[in-house]
Symmetry: C2
Subunit: 460 residues, 2 copies
């Protein structure tokens, strides 16, 4: 692959230099100057090319033609790799060419070497990838997705691109975005009698998906185990640092699954494995982001067995410790984040809360045959972020499903799936950004996604 990696350019990425070069090698790099230090006979440049959060130094002779080198400019530098006094590699350049000037004094919002608050950086979204901790986040985001795809593929799961345009709103939670062509002329051309004008493209009201689960189930009934890694949307007026209007969901559906404990075991194995892979591919970037967020780099949950507690046990623990909780306990609404974190701390491990009251959970969850007030559901509670995954066995009996009072109308197709050779299935969903917050310690979800969309903000 080395040929391919370099075939359209003779330069090496800086991240590769430490891995595949040795002192004395001749090579060329291209990147942005982050910092310039002029000493007696040499000028020292910190160069960044977007491939790593580790500083890379280029040493250039102090000649008249190198006088104008300044932060922000893009250079190409050719020379020889040498070992710096601190032990890392640096490039002693024999030739430096300026490819483009930085023009930072003409309105560039990010002063070099200054610690900038994330709210300020977010205001300049189009330039944000030039800030080191954002670039590191983006590389981590890429590698975490890659780890998920690799893991699921190794286990023979089939990735399904569940649709984003849909005529159902899954859990009926209500807070959906509606979609229609922008062109009035097009709507007019496509008009049909008995169809409201704004619905004439699809002949019905169409929403942006809030979850791919129901579509995934339809596919699992033909393909076996499936998963989706897709955008999802919520039209909520939330300023919370844990919510976005557009975010990514990783959802999987397992066929022939009959016990919620096995689903919990699958999720635990999966999260430990993808996080271990991420630590292997991206430890420098992870450390960089954790330091930048003043977060602990201790992912202790990787090395302990996770716990399973029934809802009743969890509720009892909370009730016994009501004095230590910031929020009142409700048996209608599930747990607050404060309560979730208390449980994680109580068990000194991530904990799956299982066997939930049916009235707290959606229509598709499998009802316990021994106690019809309970469903075979799980919530995974983690340190720092609280709930990370939600899942359940699915109700596989079409008659039980049909008679559920919350079954949305126009979901007869969903009941139909169970009629012809139904199989027991179950699955889970995980908010991908929340996972990234967990591993990087970043407080605001707006900083782990490249282009955050939230109330009153859809820049670019």
């Amino acid at each position: 692959m080395l040929f391919l990696k370099r075939f359209y350019s003779n330069s090496q990425r800086i991240a590769q230099v430490a891995k595949s070069s040795k002192p004395g090698d001749s090579l060329s790099i291209q990147g942005w100057i982050r910092n310039v230090r002029k000493l007696k006979s040499h000028t020292f440049l910190d160069i960044n090319d977007g491939s790593t959060s580790t500083k890379f130094q280029v040493v250039v002779p102090k000649t008249p033609e190198n006088q104008h080198l300044a932060p922000g400019s893009v250079i190409s530098a050719e020379g020889q790799i040498q070992v710096a006094p601190n032990g890392s590699y640096e490039l002693h350049a024999s030739h430096v060419e300026t490819l483009a000037d930085g023009h930072l004094q003409e309105g560039y919002p990010f002063a070099p070497k200054q610690k900038l608050p994330p709210e300020y950086v977010r205001e300049h979204l189009h330039l944000r990838s030039r800030v080191d901790y954002i670039a590191a986040q983006m590389r981590i985001r890429h590698k975490a997705q890659k780890a998920i795809h690799d893991y699921m593929d190794e286990l023979d799961f089939v990735q399904i691109n569940t649709p984003l345009l849909t005529t159902n709103d899954c859990e009926g939670a209500g807070e959906v975005f509606r979609v229609q062509p922008d062109s009035e002329a097009l709507l007019k051309t496509m008009a049909k009698p008995n169809v409201p004008a704004e619905q004439s493209y699809f002949d019905e009201k169409v929403f942006l998906s809030v979850s791919g689960q129901l579509h995934l189930e339809a596919m699992t009934y033909g393909l076996g185990n499936t998963y989706t890694f897709s955008p999802a949307f919520r039209a909520e007026n939330s300023k919370s640092p844990l919510h976005l209007a557009e975010f990514y969901m990783f959802e999987a559906e397992l066929s022939h699954l009959k016990e919620v404990d096995k689903l919990a075991a699958f999720i635990e194995q999966m999260l430990k494995s993808i996080t271990t892979r991420l630590l292997e591919s991206s430890s420098d970037d992870l450390n960089f982001c954790q330091r930048n967020a003043n977060a602990s780099s201790d992912l202790a949950w990787l090395n302990v067995p996770w716990k399973i507690a029934s809802y009743d046990e969890a509720l009892q623990i909370l009730q016994d410790n009501a004095d230590s909780l910031k929020t009142p306990i409700s048996i209608q609404d599930g747990f607050s984040k404060d309560q979730e974190l208390f449980l994680v701390s109580h068990f000194a491990a991530p904990v799956f809360v299982v066997d939930w009251p049916a009235q707290q959970k959606p229509f598709y969850m499998k009802v316990s045959r021994s106690n019809p007030n309970r469903v075979h559901a799980l919530d995974l509670l983690m340190p720092a972020v609280g709930e990370l995954c939600g899942g359940s066995l699915r109700e596989s009996d079409p008659s039980v499903l049909s008679s559920h009072p919350q079954l949305p109308k126009n979901l007869s197709w969903y009941v139909d799936l169970r009629k012809y050779g139904g199989v027991p299935t179950g699955g889970f969903g995980m908010g991908f950004e929340r996972y990234l917050q967990l591993v990087t310690g970043v407080k605001n979800i707006r900083d782990v996604i490249p282009f955050p969309r939230y109330p009153h903000s859809c820049k670019m």
Copy 2:
């Protein structure tokens, strides 16, 4: 991984049996009965579990309790692997358990063993994954995506989740979907003076993305090479077998790219490599789909060098052969599909047409400094599907870009990218479904995506 592959079930997937079992092995499988043949002393079942398009036979003794085995039912079968007279493995079952009845006579639309027209199958979208060629397509789609992610990751490209909600419509082609919260009450809560009521969630008009390119470019200016594999949307009233309202785009942006020929070389290498990987992972499914579509399995383009022709050369060839063309040549509009296929056939290879007239192409393409009527663009023309990729160098001079008459207003951020340490970049986009049509020979794009969305149809 074997432990994990089986830890929530003791059964083996059928696709794995041929790879990891040997005659005499005891194992159990679970799947749907596709066909039942009753002979004298034994019953022969064709079983499918969604993992392969290759038939798998289970031989069961003809006992009273096996009498009721019927197509559509889900069974679990335990027994021993033996070699069938035709040389393939089969399972001689000592124990068969029915997990669920098929109930096919109660309205199941797909009669076993019958060849069903794709238009009919599409009418029953929720059950479609149970049809063998659709399941095979979905597995191919998964493996093709996996090959793209693997390839780009090996080359150190960073995958960026470009946003689907956006305030720009990229090329200004106009046919966009508009997005707003469905809840009038929410819009009212969020209302602001001077913002139209239906825009109050984001304070401006928001569309579904038609391309991630411009956002990708913003990221490339910090990260170097990037790519996106994302849904894209077009509100066109098109019944064409090559268009969907919701489809997937694979787009990449390469930094420090100065020649369009190098972009062509990258695309050729990439497409040959991912297709070779796909042939390795999925040859049975590919052959199955090609046979089902009456398409040739000859991917001759894998083994020849691809051609590059200038727009002027290509136009000359078409003009010299105007008599053989079904459509008139236009110098305003580019080539028709008929003309594209003529060029591919003329060169007996895929062909990159480069150096296009500026007025046929969008504002962001780099203008030739030697001939301002030309831009450094490419179209890749392939057999069967015509145009598969479009790409270009990007205009990197902010003053040239600013003065382009077609530059959309509110894209000042896009010009801004070039101002501070601009680098030469270029990239391409490929319609993923069109690629799947190319390799599987499937005529209608609606059959290579799990849930097709097109005019007057958004089922489920």
